[in-house]
Amino acid sequence: MSLTLDQVLPGQFVEITAIAGEPGLVQRLYELGFCEGERIEFVGRAPLGDPIEIRIANSRISLRKIEAAGIAVRIV
């Protein structure tokens, strides 16, 4: 069972293995620097658990858990 970004814990570093989802979402993710092989640091979650905040390249991005669920990752 592969790990997806929404299941990662705060403080963990992961690497993207695949990106899936609705085409508009996937394109938006590419535009923001998400792509296979890129490293992500999981920073934390909002007070009610959603959305999540991550660091990728040199930017901070927030996304909803359901949007992160399409990003397959592996821990590094």
């Binding site: 609705e22 007070p47 991005i61 909803r64």
Partner: protein, 726 residues
């Protein structure tokens, strides 16, 4: 023959400092361009360098040229020269953030395919340096094959070089020959382009292929039908089978090219240093502290606005009264004088009175956006807002509406998704605004203070606010499920680095927004004030054909000449009685009378009904109108206000039908005002932001219906409670 100006398009990610650069280059010589069919506006400016005029267009911040909606398409069309009213840009300045170069270059590589020269403006080099990132601009220029100019827009560094490069590129620049997409994609898009017989340019044919579900695909499918659409899908399938699935293949190709081009030019520290943003965000996005700081911040801002605007509001009030008295001194009694003093000056002045609050809110919103905190607020509030069918980005616009819906509606611009934006705009007027406070004050003061528990006053006020806070999300949810139904918008959002906001930028935005409001809303406000004035003024003759004004003037003269307090008080009483009679027999008064059956289920009499009708352009007018109808004259002091409260309490309690139910009636009046959109200014701003008359009309209609139902239920339930529990 005058030399044509150089047309330059400024393109870049949001938060790349594009606007700062635009302002630095064009100074105060800027104006806003509107485009038909979309709510996007683009700022245009110009400047002169070496005797050459340059026209600058600031395109909306975007992460790529993959357009998915008409709003996003406007920029792409402009860059391709397909915007009918706009000339094609001669060159593009791609503004990128040096700290985040690879990501920002994604858009740049797309810009390089447009067939015009591109200059990369490498911005925020200071912040990159602070993080230990150094960029060799020359190396970068060589590998990208475009001119690279390091700049720091907020300090003005590098701008002279940029200006010179713009002229050079306009004269001698060549379009980049970037061809970094894989062969299969290029061949397939050429085939697609050919099959469309030149209906769209090469670049758009490529986007058509790559952007699954994009805007070009949408309108071409609508035009050419599902048969054609299938050929597009087949082309994509073939690409996928040959190892280039879209859109993934584009991202892979671009980032690979960017990495290769930048690897020698960028030096990054091995370990990323902890930045100020990191430190701030540990608190500000923290589950507990973040929320607390957020709540505290909101509270402080609102307090500041209420407190700070008070003296200014009082000052405007004084000026209004002074102007009115000036006109009274100059013009003879009659319709013209009344039109100017009561209609224009008092009416418009009553609206201008709220301008300080509106400006302060604009400043507050601009500050939040500029410093980068706005995105954090959206992040913290997203879950709650999702429950109402919206996103965190709607939170600040709705919050601002608690003081005044006008800045709230205008702040909704940051919401990219059109349906979310409209939903936010349509419910913003429900968030109790400060113009409702006078009527709340009057009703609560009259019926819920004397002889009641001390906490009832504050509690009732709180409830009135809560009504708006509860109804707004419910209406938003209903709208998003019905009228504004559609796919859930994408939330993925960048949290920009914190930066010190520029005072100049904030003041400029405050002024721009304020001026836009006054100019656009001004006409509608003026028109509605004049109409209401006319409805309350005419007919201005009593049953004997004598003008009310003449009679009032005569009595006032006599009272001033007479001696003794008694005579003066008697004179005032007679004047008030006459004015009340006048309003009663005016057009609006008669309409109000005839509408009594409509008001009765709410527990209202014709006086409340007329006052409510007169308040439709601006709700705060109700207090003054009630003052006249209850013969108290001008409510221009606290003691007059108390007097009015007492009078209303006495009159209502005396009323045979309404007597026992005064509290339900008062509550029903307040609920009506809580839910009704009695503000021409807000409607005017909604019209401006949605570019249609349908939405403000819809807002007015649904809120009036909601208000009627709410007031009806309040009164009927209240009456039942009184009947059965006392």
């Amino acid at each position: 023959m005058p030399v044509p100006p150089i047309i330059v398009a400024l393109v870049g990610n949001p938060n790349a400092g594009k606007s700062t650069l635009f302002n630095a280059l064009s100074g105060l010589r800027q104006h806003v361009g509107n485009y038909p069919g979309v709510t996007v506006e683009m700022k245009k400016g110009d400047f002169v360098v070496d005797g050459r005029r340059v026209e600058l267009i600031d395109l909306p911040g975007t992460y790529s040229l993959a357009a998915r909606s008409p709003d996003e398409m406007v920029a792409v069309d402009l860059l391709l020269g397909r915007q009918p009213s706009e000339p094609r840009p001669d060159l593009i300045v791609s503004v990128v953030d040096a700290s985040n170069l690879e990501r920002h270059l994604y858009l740049t590589t797309q810009l390089m395919e447009l067939g015009v020269p591109v200059i990369v403006a490498l911005n925020m080099i200071d912040m990159a340096k602070a993080q230990g990132i150094t960029i060799d601009a020359e190396r970068l220029a060589k590998s990208l094959q475009v001119t690279v100019v390091p700049i720091q827009a907020n300090a003005g560094t590098g701008l002279d070089t940029l200006r010179a490069e713009i002229v050079r590129a306009a004269d001698h620049g060549i379009a980049p020959a970037a061809n970094l997409l894989p062969e299969p994609i290029l061949r397939a898009s050429e085939a697609l382009h050919g099959s469309l017989n030149g209906e769209i340019p090469q670049f758009l044919a490529r986007r058509l292929l790559l952007d699954v579900g994009g805007y070009t695909e949408q309108w071409l499918t609508a035009k050419r039908g599902p048969g054609w659409h299938q050929t597009l899908l087949d082309a994509r399938l073939r690409l996928s089978e040959s190892g280039c699935p879209v859109p993934a293949a584009e991202a892979k190709a671009r980032y690979a090219w960017i990495r290769a081009a930048t690897v020698t030019a960028i030096t990054k520290p091995a370990i990323r240093p902890v930045s100020t943003t990191d430190r701030l965000d540990t608190i500000l996005t923290h589950k507990l502290w973040g929320t607390l700081v957020f709540l505290a911040l909101m509270f402080i801002v609102f307090q500041a606005i209420f407190v700070g605007a008070e003296p200014l509001m009082g000052a405007i009030d004084t000026v209004t009264k002074w102007l009115a008295s000036l006109v009274e001194g100059v013009l003879p009694v009659g319709p013209l004088r009344s039109l100017i003093t009561d209609g224009v000056i008092t009416g418009v002045g009553g609206v201008i009175k709220f301008l300080p609050q509106i400006l302060l809110l604009f400043a507050f919103i601009a500050f939040l956006e500029d410093c980068g905190y706005m995105a954090r607020a959206a992040f913290l509030m997203d879950k709650i807002m999702s429950r109402c069918g919206l996103s965190g980005k709607s939170f600040i616009p709705m919050l601002s509406s608690i003081a005044c819906a006008i800045p709230g509606v205008m702040a909704a611009r940051v919401i990219e998704n059109r349906r979310d934006r409209i939903a936010t705009i349509l419910v913003a007027p429900l968030m109790s605004c400060s113009a409702r406070l006078p009527i709340y004050g009057l009703m609560i003061g009259a019926f819920l203070t004397v002889g009641r528990p001390f906490w009832l006053k504050g509690f009732t006020l709180f409830i009135m606010y809560m009504i708006g806070f509860l109804v707004a999300p419910i209406v938003a949810l209903i709208l998003k499920r019905t009228l504004l139904r559609g796919a859930t918008p994408i939330f993925v959002m960048e949290l920009p680095t914190y930066r010190r906001p520029s005072l100049k930028a904030i003041l400029r935005r405050m002024f721009d927004a304020g001026w836009a409001f006054v100019r656009r809303a001004g006409t509608l406000i003026l028109a509605s004030m004049v109409i209401v004035w006319a409805l309350l003024y005419f007919p201005n003759t009593d049953e004997n054909g004598q003008k009310y004004e003449d009679r009032i003037a005569a009595i006032t003269e006599k009272a001033e000449a007479a001696e003794g307090e008694e005579a003066k008080a008697e004179g005032e009483r007679q004047v008030n009685a006459l004015r009340s009679e006048w309003k009663r027999t005016s057009l609006l008064g008669r309409v109000g009378h005839s509408m009594e059956p409509v008001f009765a289920p709410l527990g209202w009499d014709w006086k409340i009904g007329v006052a409510a009708l007169a308040s439709f352009p601006a709700r705060e007018v109700i207090v003054g109108t009630l003052g006249i109808l209850y013969q108290e004259g001008d409510i221009d002091s606290d003691e007059k206000a108390d007097q009015l409260q007492n009078t209303i309490r006495d009159r209502w309690s005396e009323d045979p039908i309404r007597g026992p139910y005064v509290v339900p009636v008062a509550l029903s009046v307040m609920v009506f005002f809580a839910l009704c959109c009695q503000c021409a200014s807000t409607l005017a701003v909604i019209r401006r932001e949605t570019k249609s008359w349908a939405w403000p009309a819809f807002t007015f209609a649904y809120m009036t219906i909601l208000a009627y139902i709410g007031a009806f239920l309040t009164f009927q339930i209240g009456r039942w409670v009184v009947d059965h529990l006392s």
